[in-house]
Amino acid sequence: MKHYHVIEKDTPNVDGFAKVTGQAVYTFDMTMPGMLYGKILRSPHPHARIISIDTSKAESLPGVKAVITAKETGERRQGAWRRYQELCDEPVLCLEKVRYIGDPVAAVAAIDEDIAMEALDLIEVEYEPLPAVFDPLESIQEGAPQLHDEVENNINVTRHIEWGDADKGFEEADFIREDEFILPAQSHVPLETHGSLASFDGGTNRLTLWTSTQTPYYVQCLLAEAMDLRENEVTVIKPHCGSGFGGKNELFADQFCAGYLARKTGRPVKIVYTREEEFTCARRRTPIHYYLKIGAKRDGTFVAKEARAFSDGGAYTSMGATLLYLTGWFSAFPYCYPNYRYDGYKVFTNKSPSSSMRGYGGIQANFCGESQIEMLAADMGLDPVEIRKKNAMYPNYEVPGQATIASCGLPEGLEKIGEYIKERGELPEDHGIGLACYGFNSGGIFNWFNTPYAFSGAEVRINIDGMVDVYSLAADIGQGADTTMCMIAAEELGVHLDDIRMHSGDTSICPSDLGAWASRETLMMGNAVKMAAADAKRQLFEVAASKMSANIVYDLEAGDRRIYLRDRPERGLSYYDVVKDAIRAKEGSLIVGRGHYTPHGKGMISPAFSFGVQAIEVKVDRETGYVKIMNAFTAHDCGQVINPMAVRGQVEGSIMMAAGYAYSEEMLYSEGEVLNPNLVDYSLIGFRDMPSAVTVDCPTHEPEGPFGAKEVGEGITCPTAGALANAVYHAVGVRITDPPLTPEKILMALKKKETQEKSPK
């Protein structure tokens, strides 16, 4: 068993002091001398043609410094799927048409916020309202309103995944189930809303944008394109970020409007979304109409699965195109299906674009899949744990033609869950335990962004006093990426955490990284940082070996600020002395190490997968229909744990967010308008409703991960909703297939059940 000096130990956040003292500066807090305040005018119609825009009254309002419309931004369209230009379909500012309530039409910059708001009222836009469509199944019908002229039947993207022969598989099945599910939207609700501060230097034609983002590199590239600048004429800086959860992955209106307005006025411009804008004009979790068919042999072995998904994609492609693939992939996860067929359709609707959100495609697939497996087990009279054990993925399992699963702690997780359920024994009345298995990507091997750079790059510089500067664009949005990277660098170099100084989130000084999505930072940036640290360490070892005149058969090791012989650890040198000598030996040049990581030879999906099982116990109140989660027990495999307390934070935060998806959070719509765009009417899980959570590790060693580590941030969001629906079924015998499981739905289902039971057979 390897002994580690830094990783594997509870390690407080490296930004902790700043965050508990209020000193941490977020984009939201920033001001600059001469700064103007920007506001965005948005469409009040779900679908309309723009006839004319008159900005003259707004422009003549005292205090207004600039107004921009599509006259400035032109016909440019933007999007993150840069490999396919036709999918970059979002106008920077709307030119001819608006396609959802909230589509940006114009923006103003003024000397204060009140004047900016007043100016918005003075912009006269004449619209010709068009028929609109809000449901994906209606949107694909012949004669439905068309959102984009060039896209027939509003079918934005289609995806097909297939292996084996699903039809043949179903022929061999003894039991078959077909079910339909409807999955809802969910709002990310980052407590810091989207916001940006732009400053333009007319002398050098360079723009600096401080922004609340989880993908500084994407914003840099997309903003440069949107403003006709060279990529490196744009510097994007991510200050402390008040979370993202997938909602800050793309280029947003605050970013390009602030940029344009700063260039036009020559003054810094700040734009912050209101909470209402955050709910109505940012992104949302993708709603999906799901059809699932599963076939099993009499002993419970799965022989075939088929899935069809119609996603309510909203008005533009956004990152929802990736989701369409992922939800198909996750519909066959984390079980062994010899035969599988998936067809997905991303459909335009007149609503804000649905896009990436924590658990990206997995949470939807998991709810449906785990509900159906539970129903199948009930049909067949099989135990819910046993049927899962029979079909669970295992180490080195190959998903036919898709990917190889290397490490996999799922079988062990199922053992632990089985024991837990046995220990729990007989439950009180109206209590139920439901299960769900899950697995998730540790980063995606997708390059729809078409980056020519490594997926993750890092640089390590060692100064004369031994202080190590780490440069990484890994986006710490609260998950603790900076702390994780510091720990990985310290472990590899054999120094302490306070020898590390982190530089992240600035595109002008940090090597590339694609950002915090697909749960990729620990594995991908972790590998790049580890490699950079190893490169620097090798240079120290050259000097140390020569100083120690060690026999060539000995290997060197670094740990606890010493460099020593692995097999004779008492023989060694101080790290600090070696650094001084190494820099002298290089004629005073710093020790620099570089690392980069792009997955190779790992298929087309992900270099590694996390796994786990969750058991949710609920109590259902038959009078009110209210579900209370009593506790959540999770057996989780994220490979080698780097920072146990950060892992726990990810697990419990995921449970909170996924429980909201399961029973309390609901975006209510009427004719494309969000009816509850505030935190009073959109209900997050609070202190009182959060259950106690117990998590046990199923440790594995992932060969592709840094020190064997895998993801933990997203996969754990996937099981909670399905497990909760299964628990409700076991508690009171009703099956709900369209979360959230609100009291209303549960009461109606209970009533229906009661009526059926009373009616003569």
Partner: protein, 159 residues
């Protein structure tokens, strides 16, 4: 017509002229530069703007600045003594009781008001009192543990 506001914040007396419609959070952030206090909802439902006004935790986005005239306000910037952290702040660090940190100032101020009033709260009392303070990152349990630990630390200090 602006009105005079005399307000003591973190022990310092400020004399300002403010619009009657100005909120306490706006005075703190925009006039005094105390940006540790955040704004998240403007509807009294998230709690990230919580400060302590004459000993009570209040949501500063729903209080007019003039309502605080002549009163004492403590914000997150008033918690540490130089670089020595208040025990609640230290507990939050030690328990990973924050992630993005945007709600943290509000959580800590609410916890301070809670512990000032009830130095030895139960888990249930903490859940009940803190319920109006949203956190989208942590799942709350680690905040509860930080507050329980802070209560112990504060009692140790008294001994």
């Amino acid at each position: 017509m602006k009105r005079e506001l005399k307000i003591t914040v973190n022990g310092d007396l400020y004399e300002l002229y403010v619009d009657p419609g100005m909120l306490l959070v706006e005075v703190l952030r925009d006039r005094l530069g105390l940006t540790g206090t955040k704004r998240g909802c403007n509807s009294m439902s998230c709690g990230v703007c919580t400060v302590i006004l004459d000993g009570k935790a209040v949501k500063s986005c729903t209080i007019l600045a003039l309502q605080a005239n002549g009163k004492n306000v403590t914000t997150i910037e008033g918690m540490a003594n130089g670089s020595k952290l208040h025990p609640i702040q230290q507990s939050f660090i030690d328990h990973w009781a924050f992630q993005c940190g945007f709600c943290t100032s509000g959580q800590i101020m609410a916890a301070k008001a809670l512990l000032d009033e009830n130095p030895n709260p139960t888990r249930e009392e903490i859940k009940h009192t803190m319920n109006g303070h949203l956190c989208r990152c942590t799942g709350y349990n680690m905040i509860i543990e930080a507050i329980l630990d802070a209560a112990n630390r504060l009692q140790e200090e008294v001994k």
